[in-house]
């Protein structure tokens, strides 16, 4: 396996923004999330779905990455996510066929799924000429130990945002798919952070606060580059001026539009006006310990 950069964090924590910032670095090819564990398999089913997408079959189409036929949702979602990463269905299908032919088995086991990711990453590096590939693990960052074992040498970046702002974003910005209760957000936010911190292989794990990324971007990006052992690149501070494959094929990615804008700290502390006093108290009842540990005032 190569040494990919694997990003993660709670939904609505700035994971997409971070991936775009990193992708702006001339040495890095960092894509959005790939939900590789959810489809029944990443082999024959992906090949079939790629074909259906190319044929415009309505079963695999819908708003964004949604599908008219729910049975195809997971796999079509993955195929469309790959296209966001700059790997169109025809290419993806070829990569999958190649792996099945080499292994003589379908792509079901987690290690085989990760080998396909590796293949996709290698393809992207060959296409872009960049030196390192990366994707978003999103919430799978809580299983950082598992992926550290599968991808020896990989590096993990965990972006953490004040959980109360995360809750505000879920409830106000993405009410159609986000967490719908304060309690649920608080439990999941706190547990994800705790799990990642406990299981991370220290030298290969880096945390960044969303608030630091948007308030002091140069300092935060220099720290990222130090961790990745690459020179700092000023393009990271101008991510909105750099082309990204996500924006070319965004399949209605919920953060695509926002990441076309320059970095801004305007969303920091939004919970103070987006949540009620009762909601803030409810969140803090559950997660005050984690908030304090991370330096957020309670």
């Amino acid at each position: 396996m190569n040494t990919p950069i694997l990003l993660g964090g709670e939904h609505r924590s700035g994971t997409t923004l971070l991936s775009i910032v990193l992708d702006s670095h001339p040495a890095l090819d960092v894509g959005p999330e790939l939900d590789f564990a959810e489809p029944t398999n990443l082999g024959t089913l992906v090949i079939q779905t790629c074909r259906l997408l190319r044929e415009g079959d309505p079963r695999v189409l819908g708003p964004g990455t949604d599908t008219n036929d729910p049975a195809y949702y997971d796999v079509a979602h993955f195929v469309k996510q790959c296209e966001r990463y700059g790997v169109p269905p025809a290419t993806l299908s070829g990569l999958v066929e190649q792996q099945i032919a080499e292994d003589g088995r379908d792509i079901v086991a987690l290690r085989d799924r990760c080998r396909l990711l590796e293949r996709i990453g290698q393809f992207k590096m060959a296409m872009t000429g960049k030196l390192t590939w990366g994707i978003k693990l999103q919430r799978k960052i809580q299983d950082v130990d598992r992926y550290a074992q599968i991808f020896p040498g990989s590096r993990f970046i965990h972006i953490i945002r004040d959980g109360r702002d995360v809750a505000a974003s879920h409830l106000r910005t993405v009410p159609d798919w986000g967490y719908r209760s304060i309690d649920d957000t608080a439990y999941k936010w706190a547990n994800l952070i705790e799990a990642a911190r406990l299981r991370a292989p220290a030298p290969r794990y880096h945390e960044i606060r969303y608030e630091d990324l948007v308030s002091e971007p140069e300092k935060a990006c220099r720290a990222l580059c130090d961790f990745l052992e690459i020179p700092f690149a000023s393009q990271m501070l101008q991510h909105h001026l750099v082309d990204h494959t996500l924006h070319a094929h965004d399949w209605s990615h919920p953060s695509s539009e926002a990441t076309k804008n320059p970095l801004s700290d305007a969303p920091v502390g939004r919970f103070r006006h987006d949540l009620t006093a009762e909601q803030i108290t409810a969140f803090e009842d559950i997660a005050s310990g984690t908030l304090r540990t991370l330096g957020y005032a309670v």
Partner: protein
């Protein structure tokens, strides 16, 4: 002896499709439980709608610890239905009083008993009683207590409206519990915990009890699973805990719906101030079945279950070790779990077990019945051996801290920090021949 199924017959598939089309949930009834439609059972065996026979290692998720169709219980129930008519105009009956007396003689914490139908009803009743008794609103809880709205912190549809805002889950984290109690002085009615005896450091229960009492809160134990799987007196009796309230259900009436809240007289008397009735408490037959069920368990069946587990768990562990599988069975008295390093492999392992006529649920508590025979145990171990042989490979034998944490977080909703702490105590024991947390408890209760 069971026959060895190869694949489900078409009629079984049709029955499953028919059930899913009109009533059953694919997520909760089929995928999480069993993807087949059972038709009838006897003892520790059951048959699906195609006539295929299985050994049950779940005792119907604990509902039938004496086995399915246990004759003395059936006879008592049928006789009572014939004698009394099965249902009476009032909710009081001599049998109900008798069962209350039986339970108060078994469980050390019990001075009074209040009855419900399901475990979920009992735990909700306990919460209500705690709130009314203390005049406080907040419940600090850990573990599974059922499906009612106040329990939605645990699993499934947590985003629906109407959740109980006065319930906070502390994920078995003693430090989080301490903080919550300090942050809410005078507000906490009860600390309500499901003891996960196979995995947790049981000393934590004493800490939780002490913390609750020191803040004027009640300490309640959900003994729905453990109540009749430890000899005479549930887990609290075995450990010497003194909860103010406990809930019991599995095993109270073998094969029939009956549950109870037991506890201190002063707390249970809060019932005078709050309505907790339901129409079907007028059924008397479950109380007749309960008298017999409780008596049989008290007089040897619980010990038989513990003996079965004591044979199954080392046998399973020997098989897993022989074939080099990174998996391990852990037990406490009459309960055991089987952990797999690789969840996918665990799922496939249990599917293969079922194909060989042995039913258990991957990831869940294995609650065997007293009805298992030595031959059933031999056959179950043979099935484990055959399946393990098909998955044998170069995989490491040890379970990792991460795998345990994923298991514990999913099965018990512990916080990651708690999972790591539990692992510190449990991990070294996994390399022993019999990682049985219950052995010490059984000795203590004897």
């Amino acid at each position: 002896m069971t026959s060895t199924p190869t694949t489900q017959a078409p009629t079984a598939r049709n029955e499953l499709d028919r059930a899913l089309a009109i009533t059953s949930s694919r997520t909760w009834d089929a995928d999480r439980r069993m993807p087949l439609v059972p038709d009838r059972g006897q003892g520790a065996h059951f048959w699906d709608s195609s006539g295929q026979e299985y050994i049950d290692l779940t005792s119907c998720t604990g509902a039938a610890p004496l086995g399915m169709g246990h004759a003395p219980v059936l006879d008592a129930v049928i006789d009572e239905m014939r004698r009394s008519g099965g249902v009476l105009p009032g909710v009081m009956s001599s049998l109900r009083t008798d069962v209350a007396q039986d339970l108060c003689s078994i469980f050390p914490c019990a001075q009074r008993a209040l009855f419900f139908r399901t475990g979920s009803c009992a735990t909700s009743g306990a919460v209500r009683l705690a709130r009314v008794h203390t005049g406080r609103d907040l419940i600090l809880t850990s573990g599974f207590h059922g499906w009612h709205d106040w329990q939605l912190q645990y699993k499934g549809t947590p985003d629906v409206v109407g959740r109980d805002a006065g319930v906070v889950d502390f994920g078995y984290d003693v430090e989080r519990l301490r903080t919550l109690l300090e942050d809410h002085p005078g507000r906490v009615a009860a600390v309500f915990v499901t003891p996960e005896s196979t995995c947790m450091p049981l000393a934590d229960l004493f800490t939780m009890q002490d913390l609750a009492r020191s803040h004027g809160a009640l300490f309640a134990l959900d003994e729905v699973m453990t109540g009749f799987r430890f000899v005479n007196g549930g887990l609290h009796g075995a450990l010497g805990l003194t909860p103010d309230l406990i809930t019991v259900s599995k095993g109270l009436c073998n094969g029939m719906a009956l549950s109870a809240v037991l506890g201190a007289r002063s707390v249970l008397e809060a019932h005078e101030k709050t309505y907790l009735g339901n129409t079907f408490m007028r059924e008397v037959a479950p109380f007749a079945g309960a008298r017999v069920s409780v008596d049989i368990q008290r007089n040897g069946a619980t010990q038989t279950i513990i003996d079965h587990v004591s044979r199954l768990v080392p046998g399973i562990n020997a098989v897993l070790a022989r074939h080099g599988l990174a998996a391990r069975a852990l037990s406490a008295a009459g309960i055991f779990h089987v952990l797999f390093e690789d969840d996918d492999l665990g799922q496939r392992f249990y599917t293969e077990l079922r194909r060989r006529g042995v039913h258990a649920e991957f990831g869940g508590a294995h609650l065997v019945s007293a009805a298992l025979t030595p031959e059933d145990i031999d056959q179950a171990l043979l099935a484990f051996d055959e399946v393990a042989a098909t998955f044998a490979g170069p995989s490491a034998r040890s379970i990792s801290a991460g795998a345990f944490a994923r298991f514990a977080e999913d099965a018990f909703r512990v916080t990651p920090r708690v999972a790591a702490r539990w692992w510190e105590q449990l991990g070294p024991r996994l390399d022993t021949a019999t990682p049985d947390a219950g052995a010490a408890l059984v000795g203590r209760s004897a």
